[in-house]
């Protein structure tokens, strides 16, 4: 059960605001307005947290989510509006997670999974809700395969974009994506795998 926490006071609703207001908030926050930044945080927290949690399989997800917003505060003035703000923020979030992976020695070989990868995920009992089962299965994927599956199939990145982010080839991204899908299929539909 969730416990009630405390939160800084705000004067206006933080959700249900038109996108144009949020663009104003981007400009205000870039100029140092903390309230505007808090509104941005609340508007984008669910999407950013979902991305971080799925990429990391939940490990350190809250800490990394905070890192993303601290980085956002530091980088906001460099946002030029060349892409949608949400697109820019999600790329920044993915970069924060990837940087963490790079400094984690246990994860450095994450894109060089051996053939044993197909054996790493046993079949599981289905809940009858494929999306819910997929969430569970994602957490058990090897790091490299999971990162690419989340970026491509959940977040909609192209292989070349993933290759640029992860400093791998587009071919490796494609191969890892296929592996991830095959592992997930084995997990989600063990009778047919």
């Amino acid at each position: 059960m969730r416990t009630a926490l405390t939160l800084l006071q705000v004067d206006t609703p933080l959700t249900a605001r038109p996108a144009t207001d949020r663009m104003d908030d981007v400009a205000l926050a870039a100029a140092g307005d903390v309230r505007a930044f808090e509104r941005l945080y609340r508007a984008h927290l669910p999407r950013v947290h979902g991305l971080v949690r799925r990429m990391t399989a939940g490990r350190d997800a809250d800490e990394l989510t905070q890192d993303v917003f601290v980085r956002l505060w530091q980088k906001l003035s460099s946002f030029r509006g060349e892409s949608a703000f949400s697109t820019w923020l999600h790329r920044l979030a993915a970069n924060v997670v990837i940087e963490r992976f790079r400094t984690d020695t246990t994860r450095r070989q994450r894109h060089v999974d051996g053939e044993g990868i197909f054996e790493s995920l046993p079949g599981a009992r289905s809940s009858g809700d494929l999306a819910m089962d997929l969430e569970t299965a994602l957490e058990k994927l090897p790091d490299g395969a999971r990162e690419i599956f989340v970026l491509h199939d959940v977040e909609g990145y192209k292989h070349q974009e993933i290759a640029d982010l992860l400093e791998i080839s587009a071919g490796t991204s494609k191969a890892q994506l296929h592996r991830a899908r095959m592992i997930l299929r084995r997990h989600l539909r063990p009778a047919s795998a």
């Binding site: 416990t3 009630a4 939160l7 800084l8 999306a131 819910m132």
Partner: protein, 226 residues
């Protein structure tokens, strides 16, 4: 000599994503027409891809703002109790996702059909097995229609119940966008009645429907504060 099945299996993700060159895609098409196992595999992969697009955004179990505020040097004295908003989760059944997966597969196949010459004979002179694919297409779209209508009706019901929570300007923009999408859907439907096999139109119809679902999901999430 290796069995062509292994080679095709490795290509199925690229096939599903529409990233195979036309010649390779035609080779996979030919294999799929005679391989039930690979057809099951690509349907499963399509279901997984479809499910991935429906995964909901998430919230942490504790509010993270205080930590962020501290790290960026923001301090304010006044605090108010925080209760995490009740989050609704939008999900599809396995059957719905399977239908979506099959549709994805058929869509990508349909785009290739448009991209190649409309000749029943390939370079080898072998007649292609088209009729079964066409029959499957019609069935899949029909299933997807029913599931889509149900999902939209459910979301619209939730939105109607919670629209009082939205800013009037948000409601105005939302209705404007939904109206534009509905117009596009209706135009596609009418065009498809005249040309049911047109994969380009099917693609646009599915895309418009996805936009409507996505917009309704976001609007519904706003009404719950998630």
């Amino acid at each position: 000599m290796s069995h062509p099945h292994d080679h095709v299996t490795e290509q199925l993700s690229e096939y599903l994503d529409g990233e195979l060159p036309v010649s390779a895609r035609e080779s996979v098409d030919a294999h799929l027409s005679g391989c039930a196992e690979c057809r099951r595999l690509i349907e499963d992969l399509g279901s997984i891809v479809a499910a991935a697009t429906t995964l909901p955004d998430t919230l942490p179990d504790r509010d993270l703002w205080a930590g962020v505020a501290q790290r960026i040097g923001a301090t304010r004295a006044t605090v108010t109790p925080f209760t995490p908003p009740v989050r609704r989760r939008f999900s599809f059944s396995v059957l719905q996702l399977a239908a979506a997966g099959i549709l994805l597969m058929l869509m990508s196949g349909g785009l290739v059909y448009l991209a190649r010459p409309h000749d029943d004979r390939g370079a080898s002179g072998v007649t292609r097995a088209e009729p079964s694919a066409a029959a499957g297409d019609a069935l899949t779209v029909s299933v997807a229609n029913a599931q889509y209508d149900g999902a939209v009706a459910d979301l619209e019901r939730r939105l109607k119940a919670g629209r009082g929570e939205l800013d009037p300007e948000t409601v105005r923009v939302l209705e404007q966008n939904l109206g534009a999408i509905d117009t596009a859907i209706e135009q596609c439907r009418r065009a498809l009645e005249a040309d049911p096999a047109n994969a380009y139109l099917t693609n646009h119809l599915v895309s418009a429907r996805q936009r409507k679902i996505a917009l309704l999901r976001r609007a519904t999430a706003l009404t719950t504060g998630s």
